[in-house]
Subunit: 214 residues, 2 copies
């Protein structure tokens, strides 16, 4: 459940690869599942196949995860870390408090969805057994927190300000919806012709540029 590397019984200074029976199966399983999800969609994966890819028997994964759901939660947890890092990096690449910083957070989000549509979808399709995963909830909050922070910087208000939260949520809805629609392509519509950056800047201005309350 934790994301620190196992490394429990490997002497320090020894490469963790040659340490034990397998090395670090846990991480390798997660990587395999990530690949599979990306290949065949969130439900097109199997523990057996992941084990096969890692070169172990089909029962081995259950020494590290109690459930197939727990493996998925592991993948999601790891993905959320990457997503948050990307969003933070996006914000950091622009002047604090600029529209660009806000847009960059959104762009990181959309880019993540485009780069890993399977995993992205998985992150938001985890309904089974996600109640018992307060860590995932917390990571979700953290991701949202990046948006909130960027908005707060832009508006020069506290992140806890309700108006900041409200507008951050508005922004997030747009970005989230756009991300899903682009990877779904359920309709090819204008979405193909949309320039993400222009879109995000437009939205940022519309939501943060002026008082919204009509």
């Amino acid at each position: 459940m934790s994301n620190e590397p196992p490394a429990t019984h490997t002497a320090p200074g020894v490469t963790p690869k040659a340490s034990y029976h397998h090395g670090d199966l846990r991480a390798q399983l997660i990587a395999a599942v990530q690949d599979l999800v990306e290949l065949h969609g969130p439900d097109g994966f199997s523990v057996a196949e992941a084990a096969r890819r890692a070169g172990v028997s089909s029962a081995a994964p259950y020494k590290h995860f109690k459930d197939r759901h727990e493996i998925l939660r592991g993948v999601v947890s790891e993905a959320m870390d990457r997503l948050r890092a990307a969003m933070e990096a996006g914000a950091a690449a622009h002047p604090r408090g600029s529209f660009e910083a806000v847009s960059a957070v959104g762009l990181a989000y959309v880019n993540f969805a485009r780069a890993e549509p399977g995993v992205f979808r998985l992150v938001f399709s985890l309904t089974e057994g996600h109640e018992n995963a307060p860590d995932l909830l917390a990571k979700g909050e953290n991701c949202f927190g990046v948006v909130v922070q960027a908005v707060a910087d832009r508006l020069a208000l506290s992140p806890s300000n309700p108006e900041v939260q409200r507008r951050a949520y508005l922004l997030w809805s747009f970005v989230h919806g756009h991300s899903f629609l682009t990877i779904d392509m359920k309709t090819k519509v204008a979405s193909a012709e949309i320039n993400d950056w222009d879109y995000l800047m437009t939205i940022s201005h519309a939501i943060l540029g002026a008082p919204i309350k009509a």
Copy 2:
């Protein structure tokens, strides 16, 4: 694949229930799957369970659907019909060209997601074998078409006008994102305190009320 009732070999005037072995299994299977998806999520359904609910053997469904995927496509197709009808009804309940009409379309969307989160999620998580389903693509376009029409009415422009399409897409991405976020509740955030109607009116004004291009 079509959504007209089977009714192939039932003499007219006879109740379709007592007509044949089962009656109309196809529709009943779809209904059963709908229930199951709502109960256990998009991937928590099984053909066998659906057959059990319909009171037939586990092989019977394959006389009506070639695949488990085809059953799901049937559910999605039916759901899209309902969704579009709801959106149209929403628009029709307000003066043509009003902000309210636009918002009502969005509200119907959000309400659908809230009422049937499992099915709603399924509609947008069908990646497997949805390429061979041009009818679903078309229905998706039709749904978007309702938004486009409402926006076109509001702006007094043609639905084919690129600016109309662009703004309709903006609106749609917001509504879509908001819908998903509310049913996910991955973060309980401010979203719980949100009044959908106020939100939609706010957004409609922000996107359609004035020229957006800064």
